[in-house]
């Protein structure tokens, strides 16, 4: 099983091919195939998580203690004066991405189950869905920037079509908007990527190429040699390796993005601008105010399973990207802009909540609540404390589960009445008691009630954010305190929605909905119950997740504090 990560990532791709090759006559099999293949990669993921040793302390700025590593040189180009640069096929897991991998597999599997509702153009749909799965999973385990970028970009097209072809009335607008937005983001990331691999070299391969190693040179020695300029640029092997990029010692002296580099642009250090660019790139995906406007449209228009995947996993790519690239590679700039990021986080929390408070469409409300909850991620990251970072990761994970559940329940109602307007319902509890129970669970979980995973996450984000000013001084304490307002607002919009739709006298706008308003079907239980179990499990025993990420987070914070000065 040494290729387990590859299996996890590419099994859905195989599934996509199988679906494409299965003739239309058997199209009832497509959903089975989709479920089967995503389920398979979920099983493998579980196995991988089982094999993953949370005790090992990974080195954020190097390959030490990576787990489940698969490293093959993909190709190596020598571009004249650019020197050689090598692209690796590098998949690996450490404390920062294992949780995201787990989340992605779970949500994708559940999403696949929900796909049973799709009736038209099934072949294309399931093909694209599996394609999407591969790219998403790949995003989380690829530690080579080139590979990461490949997966990252490749998410766009399937998403574009899934929203644009199977979506709601304004689907095309939403799809284009999503596409353009994300493309802008990824262009910004591309700029920085170019800058990075032009400034970073791979000490190991450099040692090989420069032929210094009749005796095997240690990384440090090579770095020393380069620092003294005893290896000329032509002999350097530029690297796309995200881990090397995170290590300031691997930056070529005098290169634009060199850590001590004084090279400035329009008066600002280029490193800082690079950080801003990559930050915006991922903040769009996250999304954070003011780059969030694609989210409500995309969510509202997307079909239920796609909303689930979008909210459950795709947003997390943004957060993960921030951790893995922006923060890990530019700790100093991150520290310099921590205030801004924290403020954006705080603002998103409240801004999203305020928006949610005013929404009439259930899905829009959930979408804006996502904006609010992703704000917690930003806040936690900006804190740059272990509590904050853990909180951020935990928040991504739990929001992945909770928002999936929220969109599922929104979908349940929509399937029955094709209407999501909150005002059009009342007292549904009489008609659909069990549905009401699940909605209640989802709402309370999402507003951060203890016992559900969301609480742990938000608590740590707060604690971390507050602590930040005392230990590292990234963001002021008041940000944490102000952000707590988000909790009240969340309680507000959820409870009022709950009260409007489910409590009081039973009443719906259109009489002809009445027959449709049956309680949950067995299928819906099948997807909802596991989610509830997970949400509660991670709520009452955080160790499940923390034991995986603790060491990673710790060394990540160590990395930040070491280099942010």
């Amino acid at each position: 099983m040494e290729h387990i990560l590859s299996y996890i990532v590419f099994i859905p791709l195989v599934g996509a091919l199988v679906v494409l090759l299965t003739p239309k006559a058997y199209q009832h099999l497509y959903k089975v195939l989709a479920i089967g293949f995503t389920g398979l990669s979920l099983l493998l993921t579980l196995y991988a998580v089982h094999m993953f040793d949370g005790g090992l302390v990974p080195q954020i700025s190097g390959e030490a203690n990576l787990q489940l590593v698969e490293k093959v040189e993909w190709f190596r180009l020598s571009l004249g004066s650019l020197g050689t640069f090598s692209v690796d096929y590098l998949l690996a897991a450490d404390g920062l991405n294992i949780s995201m991998l787990l989340l992605a597999s779970i949500v994708l599997f559940i999403g696949a189950i929900v796909c049973w509702k799709i009736k038209e153009k099934q072949k294309a749909y399931f093909g694209l869905y599996l394609l999407l799965s591969t790219s998403v999973l790949g995003c989380f385990v690829a530690l080579d920037f080139f590979l990461f970028y490949l997966f990252f970009e490749f998410m766009l097209l399937p998403m574009y079509f899934l929203v644009g072809l199977w979506g709601g009335p304004r689907r095309e607008y939403a799809a284009i908007k999503f596409f353009i937005y994300t493309l802008v983001g990824s262009i910004l990331i591309l700029i920085v990527m170019i800058g990075l691999y032009n400034s970073v070299y791979d000490p190991v391969k450099t040692a090989e190429l420069a032929g210094i190693n009749g005796t095997e040179l240690s990384i440090e020695e090579v770095q020393a040699l380069v620092a003294e300029g005893r290896i000329e640029e032509g002999q350097l092997v530029k690297s796309f390796n995200m881990l090397y990029m995170a290590n300031p010692a691997n930056y070529i002296p005098g290169s634009l993005l060199e850590r001590s580099g004084l090279s400035t642009l329009f008066g600002e250090p280029i490193r800082w601008m690079a950080f801003l660019a990559i930050f915006i790139g991922f903040a769009i995906k996250l999304p954070s105010f003011p780059f969030h406007t694609w989210l409500p449209d995309a969510h509202v228009e997307a079909p239920t399973p796609i909303s689930v995947v979008l909210a459950g996993v795709l947003l997390k790519v943004g957060g993960y990207g921030l951790i893995r690239t922006a923060f890990a590679m530019f700790p100093d700039a991150a520290y310099h802009y921590a205030w801004l990021i924290g403020f954006l986080g705080m603002f998103s929390i409240i801004y999203g909540a305020m928006n949610a408070l005013a929404q009439k469409d259930l899905k829009k409300l959930i979408a804006f609540s996502s904006v609010s909850h992703m704000g917690f991620v930003l806040l936690g990251l900006a804190a740059m404390t272990s509590e904050g970072i853990s909180g951020a990761i935990y928040q991504m994970f739990s929001h992945g589960l909770i928002s999936s559940m929220l969109f599922l329940i929104a979908g349940v109602l929509y399937d029955r009445t094709h209407n999501r307007t909150i005002e059009h319902y009342g007292g549904l509890a009489h008609q659909m008691p069990y549905y009401t129970v699940f909605v209640g669970i989802a709402f309370f979980a999402s507003l951060g009630l203890p016992g559900f995973s969301g609480f742990i996450a938000e608590l740590f984000v707060f604690i971390g954010a507050f602590k930040s000013s005392a230990v590292i001084g990234a963001i002021p304490a008041w940000m944490a305190i102000v952000s707590t307002l988000g909790l009240v607002l969340a309680a507000g919009y959820y409870l009022w929605t709950f009260q409007k739709m489910f409590l009081g006298k039973f009443w719906v706008k259109e009489k002809n909905w009445l027959p449709a308003l049956k309680d949950l079907t067995i299928r819906e239980y099948m997807v909802l119950v596991p989610l509830v179990v997970l949400i509660i499990a991670f709520g009452i025993y955080p160790g499940l997740l923390l034991n995986l990420i603790n060491t990673g987070v710790e060394s990540f914070v160590g990395h930040l504090t070491e280099w942010s000065k």
């Binding site: 908007k177 005013a358 602590k467 309680a491 409870l495």
Partner: protein
């Protein structure tokens, strides 16, 4: 140097299983009632009874040597997040009381909810509530207290909104939850501060670390060892007070203190036994309990805030209780005001007095609610033939003592305890509070007499509204008959059965002072002695003066005076009430006819100082309006800005195209004009004209040359 890891080292005890049982039995009772369907009441009541036994056993066996149990929940970034139980007398007493009240309420509910189809849900909620309440009581770790704190909020939300088809009920539930949430923000902030400073939320550890922390030139510094190496945590000293006040905010929400008390009256939408259990005896007391837990961490400033808030609440609520029609509303306001007393007690440092009052209040207020419940229940039975009336409105009652003697007896005893007449439990506890308050005020002097004044005025009002209630409910003639025009109605009314009366009577008996010691001096009550006031551990520079440091004589001196004044005031209240509301008195009549009290005072009182109006009409509306504004902003500004960019691009595209085609011609025509003086082609040079294109190209290139070369 103190080692954090030792402070939070795991501890075991042979009682662990018992504690776990104590915690989980109620949850179990909740769960099973979901399956027992119609048998739910008996099953869950039985389990609660069992739990009471457990609590009793633990109390007996651990009363003198408290046990603490601790283990690691999970660890994050090298910090262990522990769970820990601490069964000291406070916890034990509370757990006994909670289970006791819970049991009686269960029994009461068996009858009270007999007709309700969704009984199982009801008992499930009750079980959930008892479980979370026990969590607050047993856990000795701020994080866990907060968790169960919120769970209590949830169960209260569920129980208030139990009859969810009533819009008012569901709204009241929301209100309760959200206002509690606001309080909890404070709680969380408190957690943040303490965690940041001490890196643990285990109360024992926090206390011992607080004990060794010092104030160095305005900074709150603590040095301890963690995992071997020294940690030197330092925060601005103001955070120390802030921590106390922040945590207190939690109590403000939960125990309905000013300014968040408005949810409690609405919470009366819930079934009456629930009001008895949650909104009188236990949950609302949780705030006070929590204050007791963190008592030693509060510094002078925090304590002052606590005291003032308590006094203000007590006074405001008492005023509000004066003019209500709804019997439950009266009780609710009186609850708020009594809670105000307890908080005030904590504020002035009268730890044991506060707890004492908490306990006595739990009994007599529960008794009052249950008796009121009986009345409501019985009156409810009179509703027939579409003759709707509000069985909680005192204006339909009157003269009930003839038909419901037992209830009357119970109600009377509890009321006397509430008023605080000698011989009743309420007297002892309230007296203790007032005494300490007086001493505190004397020590501090100046503006700190105001709380004292408020507290003593509250005594009058308490007596007044209590007797008003009694007179309106039990004396005079049965007004409902007149209203409905059914003269024989009174004969249809009869006493509630044993399920209902027995619990009420038990509470009534418990509100006599005998159970707490046959004395007029609270000092001698065994409970007071059992729960002595602890010393503050906050750094001396910030600590308040503890009452224990005040020579005992001071108390002796003031005691007689305070006694006399309070009794006198209480009696004054009674007399006043009788004078106004005596049967057949015309003030009573005029009052009863009125739809709502007149006069500024009446209005202010009836509308509870217009707090609701302030919150709902102004603040809430404001927020919602702002939300709509934000949404508009998002839709039309932020989003449009993006679309604008997209459009802008189209515009640029248009411009380039224009440049490519139109501008060419423009330029061409221009040049054509100039050249045209020589040549004769001014007429016709149009788009697609190759010469024009060549020309423009060349002009462009020449300009480039000029720009770049020269």
């Amino acid at each position: 140097m103190i080692e954090l890891d030792h402070l939070i080292a795991p501890e075991q005890s042979e009682y662990t299983l018992w504690v776990v049982a104590l915690l989980t039995l109620p949850l179990l009772s909740g769960l099973i009632s979901a399956f027992l369907k119609q048998q739910a009441p008996y099953g869950s009541s039985f389990l609660i009874g069992l739990n009471l036994v457990v609590a009793g056993f633990l109390a007996l066996s651990l009363w003198d040597e408290p046990v603490s149990i601790r283990g690691s929940w999970f660890s994050l970034a090298g910090n262990d997040f522990t769970y820990s139980f601490f069964l000291d007398r406070l916890a034990l007493a509370m757990s006994v009381i909670v289970n006791f009240v819970a049991l009686l309420v269960h029994l009461f509910s068996i009858e009270y909810m007999r007709e309700d189809p969704s009984k199982p849900r009801y008992f499930a909620y009750l079980g959930l509530f008892t479980f979370s309440m026990m969590g607050i009581v047993l856990f000795h770790n701020l994080l866990f207290m907060f968790i169960f704190w919120e769970l209590v909020g949830l169960s209260s939300f569920l129980l208030i909104g139990f009859w969810f088809e009533k819009k008012s009920a569901s709204l009241a539930a929301n209100k309760a939850f959200i206002l509690n949430r606001i309080g909890d923000l404070g709680f969380i902030t408190g957690l943040m501060i303490l965690y940041t400073q001490f890196q643990t939320l285990d109360l024992d550890a926090v206390k011992s670390l607080m004990a060794i922390s010092e104030i160095e030139d305005g900074n709150w510094v603590v040095a301890f060892k963690k995992a071997g190496q020294e940690v030197m945590a330092s925060l601005d000293g103001r955070w120390l007070s802030a921590a106390g006040i922040a945590l207190f905010c939690g109590a403000v929400g939960k125990s309905a203190q000013f300014p968040l008390q408005v949810w409690l009256p609405d919470a009366m939408e819930g079934p009456t036994p629930v009001s008895a259990l949650i909104h009188a005896a236990t949950m609302v007391a949780a705030g006070v309990f929590m204050l007791a837990r963190i008592f030693v961490l509060l510094d002078a400033q925090a304590l002052e805030v606590v005291a003032i808030v308590g006094a203000v609440t007590a006074f405001m609520a008492a005023i509000a209780a004066l003019s209500q029609f709804d019997i439950k509303k009266v009780l609710a306001y009186s609850t708020i005001s009594q809670l105000g007393y307890m908080v005030l007690a904590m504020g002035v440092g009268a730890f044991s007095a506060g707890i004492f009052h908490l306990i006595t209040h739990a009994f007599f207020k529960a008794g009052l609610f249950l008796s009121a419940g009986i009345i409501i229940h019985q009156l409810h039975h009179l509703e027939k033939g579409g003759q709707k009336f509000d069985p909680q409105d005192m204006r339909v009652m009157g003269g009930l003592r003839r038909k419901m003697p037992v209830t009357f007896f119970a109600f009377l005893l509890c009321s006397l305890a509430l008023v605080g007449l000698p011989g009743f439990s309420g007297f002892l506890s309230k007296d203790a509070i007032l005494l300490d308050l007086a001493v505190w005020a004397d020590e501090k002097g100046g503006g700190f007499y105001i709380p004292e004044v408020l507290a003593f005025m509250t005594v009058v009002f308490t007596a007044f509204y209590t007797f008003r209630m009694i007179l309106l409910v039990f004396f005079g003639e049965f007004r409902l008959a007149g209203i409905l025009g059914r003269n024989q109605l009174e004969n249809e009314l009869h006493e509630g059965n044993g399920w209902l009366t027995v619990p009420a009577v038990i509470f009534a008996l418990l509100s006599l002072s005998i159970p707490f010691g046959f004395t007029l001096n609270p000092e001698d009550s065994w409970l007071m002695q059992a729960l002595p006031t602890p010393m503050y551990v906050v750094p001396v520079a910030y600590a308040a003066q503890s009452l224990l440091d005040i020579p005992h004589e001071t108390f002796e001196v003031l005691h007689g005076l305070v006694n006399a004044v309070s009794i006198g005031l209480a009696l004054a209240g009674l007399v006043l009430a009788y004078w106004v509301y005596r049967p057949g008195g015309k003030l009573q009549k005029s009052f009863i006819e009125k739809r709502e009290p007149v006069g500024v005072f009446g209005q202010v009182s009836f509308y509870h100082w217009y707090l609701n109006a302030l919150y709902e009409k102004i603040i809430l509306k404001g927020i919602l309006a702002k939300a709509r504004g934000v949404a508009w902003f998002d839709r039309w500004i932020v989003d449009e800005a993006v679309n604008l960019l997209a459009r802008l691009q189209v515009v640029i595209a248009y411009l380039t195209r224009w440049f490519d085609r139109v501008f060419v011609d423009g330029l061409v025509n221009l040049t054509a004009h100039s050249i045209g003086k020589v040549g004769q082609l001014t007429r016709s040079i149009q788009s697609g004209n190759i010469q024009a294109q060549i020309l423009v190209t060349f002009i462009f290139l020449l300009t480039l040359i000029l720009l770049l070369v020269l």
